[in-house]
Symmetry: D2
Subunit: 244 residues, 4 copies
């Protein structure tokens, strides 16, 4: 229950009456809320810079990939801005701007974030995982052996189609799990904190590997930046403590 | 970087050589990993009991809803068990057991968890949100006013089709946002911790409300259990601190 | 090859030069076409009336179902109209009105047509299939026995989720096949002419049957209007001749 | 109505009793049908050969594309075969082999057919559309001008994401329409006979054009084989007569 002794949020004013005001009774009485003039919910994402040293993915592929990423950010900012003023009163599941915009928001939001995670956790040919890292130990714990995690992750990636392979912490299962994501927003687990991300859309590998996506995948796994990943595992472990 | 002074994870044994062993070099040399005999990854979820006092949703609807929920748990346990021994070497995106099972795992996992969150956060006709609760203050902060959050959440729910309306904490945007989920696993934001959940599948309301899903929705919103929700906000705020 | 002797489509004018004009060369030279001012492509669908005598589905369910159907037609007309003037030059796959409108067009178009087929082929408790009908003979031919068709159709319906079970003529396979459709526009075979349609969205049965969708399905199959279905088989057979 | 005078399908036997036997009454009495031992429904698709002369798409891209197509055929045959003996009695929408196999059947069936249509209608640099062809006249009729059709088709293709742009005859609208298809089986109109097909998956163009899918698209449209397309329009017009 919200504390009731923490009396005074609006300094200098005795707000007892206000604090006791129940939203429910308000909502019950009014039934239909007055329209929103304008939400101030929009955000502006800025593209980030990534150092991407790679022995296995060509400069052309990487350059084109960054272009795509910037396209998603542009669309995300665009749709986020429109959502401030979109008509919410005619929102429906058959055809409405609200629905279309929310779908596109999720799509571009995931695309943006997944690309950033991918760019940051791949492309370091010199990084190595060591056996007393959190990354190693936690994957070993939840998959039996680190090798078994690798095999499962590879299976995920090869099964993903145009989409993503993601290893993350699942806040309901309270363990590390691999999942495929279809496209950017299909088949996504709710409550899943992503840690290791490989892009399996064809644009990631087709220029360099044509249909041989297994070789691309192995190349990426060799170039995982385990320092970046280790930082994410630290956060995941902290989240694990919170949701316990 | 993983600490290297934390020497001894396997007590009594000097594990320096082991610790230094790089997975990458192993992986690079072997190229193709030996097959997994059997993962020990499966979990067994147990259906929970929920107190569901409601003035607006009939006993028949609630009874049938709990049956559906149990069906998802059964399927989840079933598919989780199969994933231990599924063939991972032929995983592909066109037709493979691995792909089908992983899709069904995500589907039933989300269905299970979303139903549990929904059953626990609805159906308390006497709960009220108060203005100095975290729930109230954080939604007010991120949506301008609590009423604006309500309007946006309603728009989400009415636009969701056979799916869910979910308010949650987004770990990338670092704010509270409403999202629609299509079915159980479509159009789901990655890195989203769910806090307030309303089931918008037709089975939730059709017996009692036929097409009038707005009345159903308002009824649910009046019966939100704000104590349960407040506990979730506390966790979300702790997560917010972690991912900052 | 287009006939070249069919000289004169624009009466009284010698159109040889025009006829020889190659679109390709035009297209090659111009590269970017001037914008469309306005397509005149929109259509207006009118809701139809259906006689729905049923022993197994309640009047309330049927009434609400017809309401839903009218909602789809309204949305279809709405989006069709917008497509005439939507901006085509910024069409893209991340976020554009054109994409959103086309997705909604397909969704509402399928919803409209599938409902019409369903309303017309169900709800006749007195109709019977006879063994020398095209319906019977063709299903027997392609499934081994009529009973086997029934079993496969039932499996389809029970596996469909919020969606449809459809038996139709597949113009590529050149045979009659059962398919599930997810929602209205997911998992749809290309080149599929629908003949027998059962709505498996929860709104079709939840009021009357709650979770017992098998009983609903059997009830619907008992009330198939085989006269209507036979007419569709005649068309399908004519199509079969065309695509042979 | 099924003819009743067409007495004798099983030669030499008076089959009146059999003919009058109503499936309904059988179905009503039995309620649950005995299990299917084995359907004999499976088909075997063979990959076709295509002449693909192109000035704009590289040999490597085309070779890899044909490989992908063969993969779909292999998966299609595989899943079609399994469907003969899959357990139909436990078919359900949460997790069942029947559901997974039917989804994969549709996916691979569409992939196979769409690729065949695409390979056959692209890659002829010397073909031209002439103005008295059915192709030209019908598209002009339904889009206002042939150029307007081209613009709409281009918008479709650029909005399609990993998927297809398809112009076809819609048997419900009774006109020619352009549609996007997502992946292979998403957002597909029911009752749609495909005529002009362009693959917009990234594997079609990424090797040669990177992100410049507009140039790829224009190149493909320049190489449309209008003879092949004209044959399809003839079939579509015959279908139009049937469904009138």
């Amino acid at each position: 229950m919200p504390s009731t002794d923490k009396k005074n949020l609006f300094a200098g004013v005795d707000v007892d009456g206000i604090i006791k005001k129940s939203i429910k009774s308000h909502f019950v009485k009014e039934q239909v809320l007055p329209e929103i003039d304008r939400l101030e919910e929009s955000y502006v994402a800025e593209p980030k810079q990534f150092k991407q040293v790679s022995e296995f993915v060509s400069q052309k592929t990487k350059g084109a990939h960054v272009e795509l990423y910037k396209g998603y950010i542009e669309s995300l900012n665009n749709v986020s801005n429109k959502l401030d003023t979109v008509n919410r009163t005619d929102a429906n599941s058959r055809h409405s701007d609200y629905r279309s915009f929310k779908l596109d928001e999720t799509y571009n939001l995931n695309a943006t974030w997944l690309h950033e995670l991918y760019f940051a956790n791949c492309f370091d040919p010199h990084s190595e995982v060591v056996m007393d890292s959190l990354s190693y130990l936690k994957l070993q714990r939840d998959f039996g052996t680190f090798d078994d995690w690798q095999r499962d992750f590879m299976a995920c990636a090869l099964a993903a189609g145009s989409g993503w392979a993601v290893c993350g912490y699942h806040m309901f299962l309270k363990k590390y799990v691999n999942f495929m994501v279809s496209h950017h927003s299909g088949d996504v687990p709710v409550g899943f904190y992503p840690l290791i991300v490989v892009d399996m859309w064809e644009h990631s590998y087709y220029k360099d590997y044509l249909n041989d996506k297994k070789s691309y995948l192995i190349a990426q796994m060799r170039e995982f930046n385990w320092n970046t990943i280790e930082d994410r595992f630290k956060k995941a472990e902290a989240i694990a403590t919170v949701v316990k």
